[in-house]
Point group: C2
Chain length 226, copies 2
């Protein structure tokens, strides 16, 4: 059985890929070069794909900078030191418009070509930083749409499933799960605003990661700039 | 009011763009360079966007060839002289996996940045050549998913709508509608397999177009190779 696994190079997507392997899938890892500031994550994605034995790893270039509208691709500064605020429900400027929808759509195209019926996505509704496209209702709606979109869906040959193994886990639980599945988190990269290849330690993503390791009583193998 | 209008450069999408203008929208035309064989259509898209007064026209590059699986992007030959067969319900090899899903997702990203709640798509369920992602049930499912995917949807600020003004029209009716809205069809390009910049006249798309003009009792302004 083949599964397409979205792989950003961060902690969550690495753990999600490890879950696909645990569940017996041959994994096809998919990354995107979308003009993100933190492109060092693409190198992390390649390392993680090799480490976790992906059958193939593709990086698709798509220039989401053409539209602007996000701190991750545009000229807005990445906010620092406000993880608790973003967790309260507002949508932060690091949100990339329709990102998961675009990424899942492209994963769907690859799945269709591979004859795969499974897509793994490392989204999380607990520490989700307020992104609308990380919620369970969104994932279900995408699955429903996808089954109407495809050749195999029309012919009744397949029922596509979007797996979100981390969706109800805390960051600490994700880290514990990943470690139990042999994920080497020193290979991953989660920072929104790295400098000189090192994680900043201060953006939402770094703060959530550090808090997760602390809560799990574990040492984060990453070196932070601040 | 702004609307994002998917524009391939073909007859249908030009007519759909003209419908958006008729309905009072400021139009933002969106084309894709996805590794299609028939790239001459991108020049047609630029001509049509100018002709129909689009406020802006963007072409986004995304290499769907990376996955293979379609005669429009891969090495499979484009079939000739079998439009009637494909209309009987089988899905032809010119189907590009998840194409409309990928394109609509990227349109959604632009709409979100523009603050637009309307997307126009020139799909057609009558002469639809058997593509699963041209059916009304699919469009509705996409709309539902999109309203869960976006910032504005979550905040209840907007209700996204996918407009498909051609979905229940025959090719002849589409042509008559477009002419009534001032579309110059000599600027459009619909062929899947052009040679030397001229439409082949024999692929599914050319045959549907020619039959549409014939049925409407009109002269197609295009010159065909065969």
């Amino acid at each position: 059985m083949n599964a397409v696994c979205l792989l950003s190079g961060g902690l969550d997507s690495a753990t999600s890929l490890a879950c696909a392997r645990r569940d017996g899938f041959q994994t096809y890892a998919l990354s995107f070069d979308y003009g993100q500031r933190h492109r060092v994550e693409l190198e992390a994605a390649a390392r993680v794909a090799t480490h976790l034995g992906a059958a193939e790893h593709k990086t698709i270039a798509i220039d989401l900078r053409a539209f602007g509208g996000s701190a991750l691709t545009g000229d807005i500064d990445v906010p620092k030191g406000r993880a608790t605020e973003t967790m309260a429900g507002t949508i932060p400027v690091t949100y990339v418009p329709a990102r998961n929808t675009v990424f899942l759509s492209i994963a769907l195209a690859w799945a269709e070509v591979l004859g795969a019926t499974d897509i793994f996505l490392g989204v999380n509704a607990v520490d989700y930083s307020g992104y609308p496209d990380c919620r369970p209702a969104y994932i279900e709606a995408f699955e429903q749409m996808a089954n109407l979109a495809t050749k195999a869906g029309v012919e009744g040959a397949m029922r596509l499933r979007i797996h979100t193994p981390l969706i109800h886990l805390s960051k600490a639980e994700i880290i514990q799960l990943g470690l139990s599945l042999g994920v080497d988190y020193s290979l991953t990269h989660s920072c929104y605003d790295p400098a000189g290849g090192r994680a900043c330690g201060q953006c939402d993503s770094c703060q959530l990661r550090r808090a997760g390791f602390a809560e799990a009583g574990l040492v984060d193998p990453l070196e932070y700039a601040g």
